[in-house]
């Protein structure tokens, strides 16, 4: 073969096996999904497999998080190709922490679901859960925009499968709305990607950061607006949040819980990543829009929670309210704002999942889904009361529960920002907190304090299985512990936020061709 002068295309250095912790969570979950699919008729074997795989994923995520905290962002580019030619996975604090939280939550839900009745509804359940985890983890860890689209779709199809598992009419109805709106959202994301590629000729996030400032600012703003729309839909931000309350209450509680913890958070994370880190200049142009969306979401969502009588639908609105808080941090991106948004995502992954799990316990306990026909749980079950109360307080942001800390940071941002945008956000956050508490205390009053309505067809309180109660309790204790001792979280934020504000280290870690000497 003739000597040919090729441009540098391959990474020359050896890759340490330890670097694989960034890719293994995705690949393991994916392979686990494939195996669980093949083992789906093998009884509890697929559960054991799934649990084992998720434990391995958690181990990798922990290792990754430790590495990120120690040495800053970690990256690996597939196929040894130099970025931006190959697909990079890149993890900074947020990606690693969220991936870990997602895996933990998935494990909890998996165990919880083992205690759920209806064995024959479970064919393929474990495979889909693992597939969902793969999609979510991939979305968190990827450093390539098109790859993000692919993992979005993995997540989406897995959620479709989970949504219809069981095939009750109400699920099908919910799935139609969920399906069309979410598929449309990812298609809009693809549309934005096509335009972005046409503008910049690259898809690697670090590379986009580098070349975006030179591109046509108006067109970039248009693309950013498209991304905002697509991710807002995924995150269920007002006014494109309708799919969430339309669908989240339809599948079994464990599935709802998984969705609440993972899906909207990935959308919020994508917003955070794409607008704050990758396209900061375009974000600045869209700021008034972001403030409006954040404020609208914060104000509208808790109203729904007050109005709803279906327990899980009401909680769905609380999930949306949380998204508003995250958006507030993105709308005013200071050190505290991003920290607050990130912390809120972390909090929401744990708390919202737990809330749905508790809702599942409540529904099982009372045999009802409508709060108007519930009651009497306070006297009947002290543990359940404690779980619910802690979660409601955490959601409303009452200290020292977990939800307080991100709200604190966000309020601090709003006050520091001042002006109309800061003021609006502060007011919206406060109103949101009060309304959320009203919604929560009304739920508490109706479901727990009030005695069960005599005329209702409330079933006698059914016993709970240990898996369900135990799994929920473990998750709630995590929420509680993280709220009481948030120092670790704040230390993490201090270490990780600078990389979000100034992604120089992130870009370095990715190691772009041409950028590195």
């Amino acid at each position: 073969m003739d000597e040919l002068v090729l441009p540098p295309a391959m990474i020359e250095t050896m890759t340490a096996a330890a670097d694989w912790v960034i890719v293994l969570p995705v690949v393991l979950a994916l392979m686990g999904a494939a195996m669980a699919l093949m083992l789906r008729k093998a009884g509890s074997l697929s559960f054991m497999l799934a649990a084992l795989v998720i434990c391995a994923v958690i181990a990798c995520d922990i290792a990754l998080l430790l590495r990120v905290l120690e040495t800053g962002p970690v990256s690996m580019t597939m196929g040894k190709w130099l970025p931006p030619f190959g697909i990079s996975l890149a993890a900074d604090l947020f990606s690693a922490a969220f991936a870990l939280a997602a895996a933990v939550v998935t494990l909890v839900v998996l165990i919880y679901a083992e205690g759920e009745s209806g064995r024959d509804e479970r064919d393929g359940f474990h495979a889909m859960v693992l597939l969902l985890l793969a999609g979510v983890t991939g979305s968190f860890l990827t450093g390539d925009l098109f790859n993000l689209y692919v993992w979005f779709e993995v997540m989406l199809i897995a959620s479709f499968g989970l949504m219809v598992l069981g095939g009750k009419p109400i699920q099908l109805d919910g799935a139609v709305k969920y399906g069309f709106l979410n598929f449309l959202a990812t298609t809009l994301f693809l549309l934005a990607l096509g335009l972005l590629y046409g503008l910049l000729g690259t898809l690697n996030m670090a590379d986009v950061m580098r070349v975006a400032p030179a591109a046509n600012p108006a067109a970039m703003a248009g693309v950013a607006a498209l991304l905002l729309l697509a991710f807002s839909m995924k995150a269920a931000a007002f006014p494109v949040n309708a799919w969430l309350p339309a669908s989240y209450h339809t599948p079994p509680a464990a599935v709802s819980a998984l969705f609440a913890g993972l899906l909207t958070k990935v959308g919020a994370y994508a917003l955070l990543r794409s607008l704050v880190v990758v396209l900061p200049a375009s974000r600045d142009l869209l700021e008034p829009l972001l403030v409006a969306i954040a404020v609208g979401t914060l104000l509208i969502a808790p109203l729904g929670a007050i109005a709803e009588t279906n327990l899980r639908r009401a909680i769905g609105f609380l999930v949306i309210g949380g998204v508003g808080a995250i958006l507030a941090g993105i709308a005013v991106p200071s050190q505290e704002g991003i920290g607050g948004a990130g912390l809120y995502v972390f909090h929401a992954i744990l708390t919202m999942t737990a809330l749905y799990l508790v809702a599942g316990l409540i529904e099982r306990g009372t045999g009802e889904t409508d709060t108007r026909r519930m009651g009497g749980l306070y006297a009947a079950s002290a543990p359940l009361s404690i779980l619910f109360l802690v979660l409601i307080l955490a959601t409303a942001g009452v200290p020292p529960f977990l939800g307080f800390w991100p709200k604190l940071l966000l309020l601090q941002t709003g006050i520091g920002e001042g002006g109309w945008s800061g003021g609006l956000i502060v007011v919206a956050l406060l109103v949101n907190a009060v309304l959320t508490l009203i919604a929560g205390s009304r739920l508490w009053g109706h479901v727990f304090w009030r005695s069960a309505p005599a005329d209702g067809n409330a079933a006698p309180l059914l016993p709970q299985t240990w898996q369900r109660l135990g799994a929920t309790a473990v998750l709630v204790s995590m929420v509680l512990a993280a709220g009481l001792w948030p120092n670790g979280l704040f230390e993490g934020l201090n270490a990780g936020i600078p990389d979000m504000m100034d992604p120089a280290r992130y870009v370095d870690a990715v190691g772009l061709a041409g950028a590195s000497p």
Binding site: M1, P7, F85, L131, F160, N216, I306, A307, L408
Partner: protein
């Protein structure tokens, strides 16, 4: 002491919570003695706090700090000075008696353990509140008192009134809590510190002073039930009586007063401060006092007098003179002692006689002599007779107002009137149930158990002992507390000597005289007030319901409006947003300028010229358009599906014409499969075949479709005006054969350069298979 100061003080704040967690267990283990056992915790705290008295007097303050969130520069710091120590001693001391009392009051209740746990948790929160130096810690404890209060008010949870009272209290105090949080954040924003003790004059001087003041007053006024937020407090009386005695008279509601006192050094003293506090405090005083006279329920009467007393305290802080502050400090302790005692007495009456209605009670003194003594001691202090602590408090408050300016006189009149009415109520409470003819009651009354009597008696005795030891009262209570509030040393001039030349004496006599008048005319006054209330037609309490139900209705309206369940409208929203996203940024930022003809007619002439498409390329474009058109106009669905195939084929041909054979094949295969599957499904469904939308929908949908289509086209054209950076493809082309060993670059990208995408893609395919199988399997189940 074995422990360091930091650890000990932290333990004071944490021990009650630990005890609270253990309370249900303790209750189960020690059944009848639960109250006695658990009372040891507050008692121990009380004892420990007593040891701090000397150091505090000697040094002015003792502080302690433990790291909590060092990464956020946040410490759990405590600051014990005269003010906080006074409060803390009151809280723990009365707390011990209340726990003891509760054990007897709720004897045999299935949830007694839970109740004691909440009570102890509340006490911990309250202690934390008054000891905290860090504003965020203060806020945290503040909110915790609201939450525990919520749980306690709703303890009798099957009654709607309890639930309402609990939710109302929670909502109102939470709104105030938000004020406190914002205030703290604003102060931190201005000064960079979270520590209350580190604050100086920065806030008063800043432009945000008004906002900070508003925020803190919000917090204080809601917590301390000032008009117009007063209404939650009477409703909180739905709680069992020990709770009313502890939370809603002696401690939690004093949180707002404490906050005002605490912030006086750096927030107070301005004109706005004085004006607002005096006005609201005065109004609350009068309103509460009048409210008390309106009631016949003993507990409600006491609740209303608590409102009045809180107003009085706020008014005194507003005045801000040395005498006023001293009076406030004395009054706080005096009030806590007598009001907690009175509530316990009322609880005992309720417990033993089965009613709290003052009009049906009478002559209980014979049956319940010790209770009567307790009631008398407390009432005398409330009237403010000499030899009780209440006397000094009253003297001090009048003392500061003897400058005889107009404003002073107005305030003095308000004070005398308020105090007189309170004295009247006190006489009613002391005399009516216990003296006079014996009236029949639902239960046959007899003396309450020891645990329920210890409280009122001990507190009454305390009141007298303090007032006799005048010197010590000045040294240990008045001076440290007032100095702490005012941030400069004050001196005590308390004396038991009565000076007939002083106007103070005459003011006191006037108060008592008027009080006696009120007592004599209580029935008339009550009728009058009730008539006035009826004439007014509504109360703030009703207003709360109106607002809450309005909120619920409004929420329902908004939610039904936004979440109507019609997918089509959801999609309209999405496409509306899409149309905006596509066009708005471009329009506002002048993005379309590159497409407009410029003066030089640069590249524009090329664009104007006939596009250089070859004839078959035009053909394909035309085919696509035909396909699209026939999908739109298809008379039935089978034609529509065929038309879908046509446009898909056209797309495949476009791919083929522009150098993408792989794409073309794939598109073609996919198109065939789509049509086949569609047809497979369609043949099984008999569906309405026309697209019949009303004209207005047609116009709306058409407009949206046009804007979106044009928006995408234009945006794409703008993108196309630039040159594409083909670095990536260039490298793929250069290295495909030499490094990646493949000649089909697209395939090499799919399996190598961007193989990770493909991995995700096949995962999607597999997932789709699983999801579809899940759907189909159901059908089989359902049909069989």
């Amino acid at each position: 002491m074995g422990l360091g100061m930091d650890a000990s003080i932290a333990l004071v704040a944490i021990a009650p919570f630990v005890a609270a967690l253990l309370a249900p267990l303790a209750q189960r283990l020690t059944k009848p003695f639960a109250g006695w056992v658990l009372a040891a915790v507050p008692l121990a705290i009380f004892a420990f706090l007593l040891t701090l008295v000397e150091p505090v007097i000697a040094n002015g303050a003792v502080s302690a700090s433990i790291g909590w969130v060092p990464a956020y520069d946040l410490n759990l710091s405590f600051f014990v000075d005269g003010l906080s120590l006074t409060f803390a001693l009151t809280i723990s001391g009365i707390g011990a008696l209340i726990v003891l009392y509760s054990g007897a009051y709720l004897k045999g209740h299935p949830h007694l353990g839970r109740f004691l746990g909440f009570l102890l948790a509340f006490m911990g929160a309250m202690l934390g509140l008054v000891l905290a130096d860090n504003m965020l810690a203060l806020f945290m404890f503040w909110e915790l008192t609201s939450v525990t209060s919520f749980l306690l008010i709703g303890f009798d949870h099957t009654r709607q009134a309890s639930r309402r009272g609990a939710i109302q209290a929670l909502v109102i105090t939470n709104i105030g809590g938000m004020g406190l949080l914002v205030g703290a954040l604003l102060v931190h924003h201005l000064t960079g510190t979270w520590e209350l003790s580190a604050l100086g004059d920065e806030v008063r001087g800043s432009g945000l002073y008004g906002l900070v003041l508003f925020a803190f007053l919000c917090a204080a006024f809601t917590k301390s039930a000032q008009v117009p937020f007063h209404f939650w407090l009477p409703n909180a009386m739905e709680a069992p009586t020990p709770v009313s005695a502890f939370l809603h008279s002696a401690t939690m509601v004093q949180g707002g007063v404490y906050l005002l006192a605490r912030t006086t050094p750096w927030l107070g003293g301005t004109e706005a401060w004085t004006l607002i506090l005096v006005c609201f405090g005065g109004a609350t005083l009068l309103w509460g006092a009048l409210g008390a006279l309106r009631q016949t329920d003993l507990k409600q009467m006491l609740a209303q007098t608590t409102i009045a007393s809180l107003g009085l305290s706020v008014l005194l802080i507003g005045l801000g003179t040395e005498a006023a502050i001293a009076a406030m400090a004395l009054y706080f302790v005096a009030h806590a002692l007598y009001k907690a005692g009175l509530f316990m007495v009322v609880g005992a009456i309720d417990h033993e006689a089965g009613t709290r209605d003052i009009t049906v009670l009478g002559g209980l003194a014979d049956k319940m002599p010790v209770t009567f003594i307790g009631a008398a001691l407390a009432s005398l202090a409330m009237i403010g007779l000499p030899l009780t602590l209440g006397y000094f408090a009253k003297e001090e408050m009048y003392l500061g107002l003897l400058a005889w300016t107009w404003s002073d006189i107005v305030v003095l009149v308000v004070l005398v009137a308020g105090n007189a009415m309170l004295a009247g109520v006190a006489m009613l409470v002391m005399v009516k149930p216990f003296l006079g003819p014996v009236l029949p009651t639902p239960k046959s009354p007899h003396e309450a158990p020891l645990a329920m009597l210890a409280g009122p008696i001990l507190l009454g005795v305390c009141s007298i002992v303090f007032s006799v030891l005048t010197e010590d009262l000045g040294k240990y209570l008045l001076v440290p507390a007032a100095s702490a509030i005012l941030d400069h040393p004050v001196t005590s001039h308390l004396t038991l000597a009565i000076n007939p030349a002083s106007p103070l004496l005459w003011l006191s006599i006037a108060t008592w005289g008027l009080g006696l008048l009120v007592y004599r005319q209580a029935a008339t006054l009550r009728t009058l007030l009730r008539r006035a209330e009826a004439a007014l037609g509504w109360t703030a309490d009703n207003l709360f319901d109106v607002v809450m139900f309005g909120l619920i209705r409004f929420s329902a309206g908004v939610t039904r409006l936004l979440h109507h369940g019609r997918l089509e409208i959801y999609l309209v929203t999405v496409f509306g947003a899409l149309a905006l996203a596509l066009t708005l940024p471009m329009l506002l930022l002048g993005g379309y300028d590159v497409l407009l003809p410029t003066a030089e007619l640069g590249n524009w002439s090329d664009v104007l010229s006939w596009p250089d498409l070859r004839i078959y390329e035009w053909g394909v474009v035309l085919l696509a358009l035909v396909g699209l058109g026939s999908v739109l106009l298809a008379p039935n669905r089978l034609v529509a599906i065929m038309a879908l195939g046509i446009q898909g084929t056209a797309v495949a041909l476009i791919f083929l014409l522009f150098g993408a054979p792989d794409l073309a094949f794939t598109q073609f295969m996919v198109e065939i499969l789509s049509v086949v599957i569609l047809a497979l499904v369609m043949t099984r469904l008999r569906l309405d075949e026309r697209d019949h939308r009303p004209l207005e929908d047609l116009a709306r949908d058409g407009t949206l479709a046009l804007v979106c289509g044009v928006g995408v086209s234009l945006l794409l054209m703008v993108v196309l005006t630039g040159t594409l950076d083909k670095r990536l493809s260039d490298l793929f082309t250069a290295t495909s054969v030499p490094i990646a060993h493949g000649a089909n670059i697209v395939n090499v990208i799919l399996v190598d350069y961007r193989g990770f995408d493909t991995l995700g893609e096949i995962a999607v395919v597999m997932g789709a298979g699983m999801a579809i199988m899940a759907l189909l399997r159901r059908r089989k189940k359902a049909t069989s």
